[in-house]
Amino acid sequence: MSYSLATLWYERQRYLPGVLAVGFSCLLIALQCGLLLGLFSITSIPIDESRADIWIGHPEVPSVDLGRPIPESWMSLLSQPEVETIEPFMEGFGYWVKPNGGMELVLIIGSRLGPGAIGPVRQLSAQHRMLLSEEMSVVVDEGEFSRLGITKIGDYAEVIGRRVRVVGTVRGLKSLAGPYLFCSVETGKALLRPPPDQVTFILGKCTNKADAQKVVDRLQAYPQKISAFTADGFSLRSRLHWLLKTKAGIALGLAAALGLLVGAVVTYQTLYAATAASLKEYAVLRALGIPRWRMALTVLAQSFWVGLFGICLAVPFILILASLGNDAGAKVLLPWWLWTGAISVTMTTALVSGLLALRSLRLVEPATLLR
């Protein structure tokens, strides 16, 4: 190990391309996945930012923004000992007519607003909730003004033929398909006009969050065809739906694979050339009877160090670029498992390149030293 490290350091010029290639692959994978995660986490904002533990929707509801009406009476299904709060929830797409003409798709999110309400996103302040209790008022993200064609709080616009008033703004809740309009359940119903006594989701909150899964399992076993999820389960389901539906996963996979391939090829070339340059030295060791696996181990150790240095080089750049991206409004999520994944995939690539470079050791032939 120490010999390979010494070699790597002494001949760093030679190994640099490999280190850079590995670092680049790592950077590419981490940032791409982080961007995608960030992008699709927007889909599940209404779930992730609310306090509800349990979500009930129509059968096979694929995603939180694709709910269809269900009977409000299903609320009684949630009357179970573990559940302390039960609320209706409205959600659906609508058209926003800008004051100066033009239309924009919006996502209407109507929840209860009382002090103990579980439906509203936590960004809605008590002040917001008070203002929203007046019918036909909405709160939007401050970044969506231009998209919505308005300039200030207090502006009016038309949604599906009804006049609404913007009564406040929140931050950090920009959306993917269309701006979120946060409002009360009543406003939501007035805008979305579901059949009588129907809502889009029914939410529940357990006294003890850990019971949510138990309650969900029980609900799933009911004869009624309903879909019940824990908040985490539904959040993941919503993200995955959009990830798969938009084929972004495939694009990501291809780009990442390409990055890895480039990294692998350059690393392989680097290690192969480095080993080939030492063929005579290795041949002496072979003549002295030192087994081939010792040399193989050295090449593998070199690939390990190339991988490690590449990753170490990539980490600060990933952090810097991610924060630059976040500042520029692109959400980059880097959970620990993404780091683990990106690092292990990169390291595996480096080691596989090392394994392939072992081919060069076949050229080690002590008899060639005697001429």
Binding site: Y3, K280, E281, A283, L285, A287, I290, L370
Partner: protein, 251 residues
């Protein structure tokens, strides 16, 4: 058993060694029915014109290149009837090599080059490897150069490191192919003296290929190879000059 008449058994015996390269018009016969016996504690010199088969003979005797026919017995092991693995193990235990050119790892210090052999061959642990390495570097006059890399060493120093690498395992055999070719006479003499010391003091069997006839007075025996045919030289060996009567009795 075979011996030199003074009760010393040869450590290496070979007979009937033949080796040809290529076929048809381009066929070269490098060795023609070569037989040789080498004794422990002796430094033997193999001379001959270029292309006469010296390197080929060295390779065949040391288990690096299989001859077309003939047998080689090293310490009573028939090395060409062993498996590749066994032969490798035999070399590990008993053989040291010095090749033309220094063949040192550019990134490693003199000490690391030697230590590596001991550690990788599993002969000794870390601590012992360090002690043996420093001892041999001292012997080679390289104590002050232990932490220098090849590009900081002179040609003679590099060759001494290469010798150290060959001898550090304290092998029974040491094969050297033109170890002095790249050195001036002063350093060449130094190298051959080091090898002679390893033979005389360490009891190793050493065979050196060289062109320079000035080396003859420094060795115990001289062989000539010409067109693949080996004959023992009649030059007066150093041992006679030095008055080593035991060996001198032979002449």
């Amino acid at each position: 058993m075979y011996n030199d008449g003074n009760g010393v058994t040869p450590t290496l015996r070979a007979w009937g060694l033949t080796k040809t390269f290529g076929v048809g018009d381009v066929m070269t016969t490098a060795l023609r029915d070569v037989s040789i016996e080498l004794y422990p504690g002796q430094l033997s010199l193999l001379m001959g014109p270029s292309g006469s088969g010296k390197s080929t003979l060295l390779a065949a005797l040391s288990g690096l290149l299989r001859p077309d026919s003939g047998r080689v017995l090293c310490l009573d092991h028939d090395i060409w009837s062993m498996s590749e693995k066994q032969r490798e193990h035999f070399r590990l235990k008993h053989c040291g090599f010095i090749f033309q050119g220094y063949n040192l790892f550019p990134a490693l210090t003199a000490r690391q080059q030697l230590e590596m052999v001991l550690r990788w061959s599993g002969i000794s642990g870390w601590r012992e490897a360090r002690q043996r390495t420093d001892a041999i570097l001292d012997l080679l006059g390289l104590a002050k150069k232990a932490n220098l890399r090849p590009n900081q060493l002179s040609g003679g120093e590099k060759q001494r490191v290469a010798i150290g690498r060959a001898l550090i395992k304290e092998p029974s055999f040491c094969f050297a192919d033109e170890p002095t070719a790249a050195l001036d006479w002063k350093h060449g003499e130094q190298v051959i003296e080091l090898l002679r010391a390893a033979a005389h003091d360490g009891g190793a069997t050493i065979l050196v290929v060289a062109h320079d006839s000035r080396l003859i007075p420094h060795v115990d025996r001289v062989f000539h190879l010409e067109d693949g045919v080996l004959v023992e030289g009649i030059e007066r060996p150093l041992s006679l000059v030095a008055g080593d009567t035991a060996v001198a009795a032979e002449y």
